[in-house]
Symmetry: C2
Subunit: 270 residues, 2 copies
């Protein structure tokens, strides 16, 4: 197979050498970043855990606002990477150096179809158990790239990921919630998975809307016996699931849609 | 903390987004790449496992040779990254696109001191179990970056990594071998760790030098009761270990040094 070639004197950036960084994918309406505080909280905590210098809050927020105003999109998706910067040989890194932030802003096309009920598969690729990295949106995402490349991926809207103990962890680009007898459960993410900002928001908000929510170790069986299932992420918000390959039922969407309307979505509130 | 900022229209490279690639660190004497066949074999197999297009063998080898000749170093270290290239949104990738290769060549300073007996620690950071990625030298190396940042790292020559089942896997930048009653053992690497080129070479070569070698699940206890321990990597070759923090003994080096002299090292053969 032909290949392109790049030569240089020295590799120094630990992002390209080791996937050493974290990222945030954010939705903006005009120059207003939806759930900015949740994104900032995760970003700050992840940088601290990885000992990457925490960016300057005020300066970063201002830089994002200026770029969003310049772009002048109605809705935007911001993808932002925070990286340690220059490293040294053999995984060594320089203490307390400023991080760098790389971001791209693109037009977001609001798609109401994803709220009609997703068709979901269970990925064959399993997630590993690594408490030191769990919860963060870090750049070591090879497991997810492999799961996306599974042959049948194109036929489904999303894939669900289990770990090697057969526990349900999350979707490829979403967190997962199941509703059973009016109770809402979401997987514990202390060994694998990403603690999504929408997940954090729902944990804070659902009790005040009258819903019980609990983090729990969930098995495939818990999915099969669920009344409703929904997925969440920072751009789409709450998405009902109607079918899961291998499970012979159509899930209800009554409570999911009720929550979805109560929580709202910034693009449909315009 | 101050930070640097980079803005762009769109992220497309799956290396910087997901750590989606593999690398090789190689030693060259003049324009001759030591153990090139072992590096190529691992590179080809890893690309196939990750469904990254395999580079053109002849063209790549020629490009490396030309750059090495231009550099005109006596000894060089080549660090080479092979990456999928442009990706699509949400972990999706383009089928069968050419990979790209990025390499840096730097002067190698041969350091005979590392053969006098290393002072080694056991890392607190544990490696996760992920058979889908095990053995490859892929770019999801956050575990190793974290292990290197452990507070006491600076006092030691190398760190040894265990997995969550307390099995010994490898060194941070090396494979590990223990010698007990004239038998040589090295960890099985089917769930974690990198299958080093020097490790592969020794597996092929030691039997013809009269040594028994076996892959085995090894615990800390097996280290404590070993007669000798040595580490290997592509640049340094075979390095004897004399002390391991927490283990109250000095390891012998007789068989290790005998093997080391029989195998030789390209820099000391000049």
């Amino acid at each position: 197979m032909p290949h392109k070639l790049i030569t240089q004197n020295q590799f120094t950036d630990s992002l390209t050498q080791y996937g050493d960084g974290v990222f945030e994918t954010m939705l903006a309406v005009g120059n207003d970043i939806h759930h900015w505080d949740y994104h900032w909280q995760r970003l700050e905590k992840s940088c601290q855990r990885l000992q990457i210098s925490v960016p300057e809050y005020e300066k970063l927020y201002q830089q994002l606002q200026i770029t969003l105003t310049e772009q002048n999109n109605t809705f935007s998706v911001i993808k932002m990477i925070i990286a340690r910067g220059d490293g040294l040989r053999g995984y060594r890194s320089i203490e307390n150096q400023p991080c760098y932030i790389q971001f791209s802003i693109s037009d977001y096309h609001f798609n109401p179809k994803i709220y009609q009920g997703l068709n979901v598969r269970i990925c064959q690729t399993r997630l590993s158990h690594q408490p030191l990295l769990a919860g963060m949106k870090h750049i070591n995402r090879l497991e997810y790239v492999m799961a996306r490349r599974e042959s049948e991926d194109g036929q489904f809207d999303e894939g669900l990921l289990l770990n090697y103990d057969n526990l349900l962890i999350e979707g490829l680009t979403s967190n997962v919630f199941i509703i059973k007898n009016q109770h809402i459960f979401t997987p514990i993410l202390d060994g694998s998975g990403v603690c999504g900002t929408m997940r954090a928001y729902l944990r804070d908000t659902l009790p005040s809307l009258g819903y019980m929510i609990k983090e729990k170790a969930l098995l495939l069986d818990d999915i099969g016996t669920a009344d409703e299932i929904f997925l969440t992420n920072a751009t789409a918000g709450i998405m009902p699931v109607s079918r899961i390959a291998g499970i012979n039922k159509t899930f209800q969407q009554t409570i999911t849609n009720s929550i979805r309307y109560q929580v709202g979505h910034p693009c449909s509130q315009q």
